[in-house]
Amino acid sequence: MMEDAAIHGQGSWFQATARQRIAGLLDPDSFTEFLGPSERVRSPHLHLFDLPAAFDDGVVIGRGKLDGKDVFVAAQEGQFMGGTFAEVSGAKIVGLLRAARGHKDLPQTVLLLLDSGGVRLQEANAGELAVAEVMRAIVQARCAGVAVIALVGGKAGAFGGAGLTAATCSRIAVSEQGRIAVSGPEVIETNMGVEEFDSSNKALVWSTDGGKNRRLIGGADAFAQDSMNGFRAAAKALLSRVPPFDLKTMQAEQERLASRQKRLGACDDAVSMWRVLGIKDPEAVRDMDGKDFTALANSIKEASHDAR
């Protein structure tokens, strides 16, 4: 059956649905969903716009096991309304994070499978609030010792509120296809002009927002192959190096960002940043395969840090 092929270890994360990603990421048959589709907890707003709702409002939450370890997991469905943060979809993620924070006997790891363009515009204020509440819930959970890991490699990337959410997590894994940013390429072009950022130049967009650049400049802590096994391996590796959420980490993060700004702030594209980072042949980075790229990223100072 098609469904089974999609969740096979080598199946593409980028192409998969939220439910297929959870099935492929976690140990077989270990997932229990909370507020599943039968509960019909749908958006109360979409019908006003004559738009179809989804039974899970585009977010799947629950608990399962990753390599035997108990984890909570929340996955955004990027194909439904761009995986957007809205009243219900946001509240499901917030509830999961609060459960982890408040109950030591529940899983103390939350995996966020981000695949989102940001706020659902039809639910404007509720969506903005949802992003803020998710970010606050992540910080509060981290304060209580919960590890929150972002996995980014879906079609919608992690833009707007999802980009902010990713930056709030303990650790971030990204694939080459994953993109992380706040303002999307079209938004930048519309507001600042095509000279600032040409959104039709796909090579420029992907080299700037894409997973390889994010990994090289320290915007992500692990580079995952675009497969279920790839993200499974990346998530497992990150779980063993989650930083404590304390003043020392915050100061290290501040220092990391300030020095990145100082060092790379004058660059006007990704290739020039890679050159400044000391990569001998920066033009070759785009075509590098996963293994070579991972080795390169691990050798770059900016990509390896104790912050976040």
């Binding site: 059956m1 098609m2 469904e3 649905t17 439910r19 599943g36 589709p37 039968s38 019908h47 004559d50 738009l51 179809p52 709702a53 989804a54 039974f55 899970d56 585009g58 469905e77 194909q79 439904f80 309304m81």
Partner: protein, 103 residues
């Protein structure tokens, strides 16, 4: 939003023990199908919500064919449509039944 409800008496209950399955995504040209084994005997209900109007007869034909071919007795089937073509609808209904028949 157009909502349609079809009630059928299938030839027999669908085999398998799974209570619930979901397949597909509400996206352009796609749909999600939620299947729940909640009805007595060989009854079957199909509820559809679609933003596309004017295709009532097409939906009716697809659902009738589905019930005839797969005999999904005992199932309540709920659809959120994103403007899927009839062949996609039929494919998702088939996939949904296959999921319900597992184990």
């Amino acid at each position: 939003m157009l909502t349609l409800k079809f009630k059928h008496a299938a030839k027999r209950r669908l085999s398998g023990k799974k209570d619930t399955s979901i397949i597909g995504v509400v996206a352009s040209g796609n749909l999600e199908v939620l299947l729940e084994r909640v009805l007595p005997g060989a009854e079957c209900e199909v509820d559809i919500a679609t933003p596309i109007t004017g295709y009532d007869e097409t939906w009716k034909a697809v659902v009738t064919e589905f019930v005839e071919r797969f005999s999904p007795g005992g199932l309540r089937v709920s659809i959120n449509d994103g403007g899927a073509r009839p062949d996609t609808v039929f494919l998702r209904l088939m996939q949904g039944c296959a999921l319900m028949e597992k184990e």
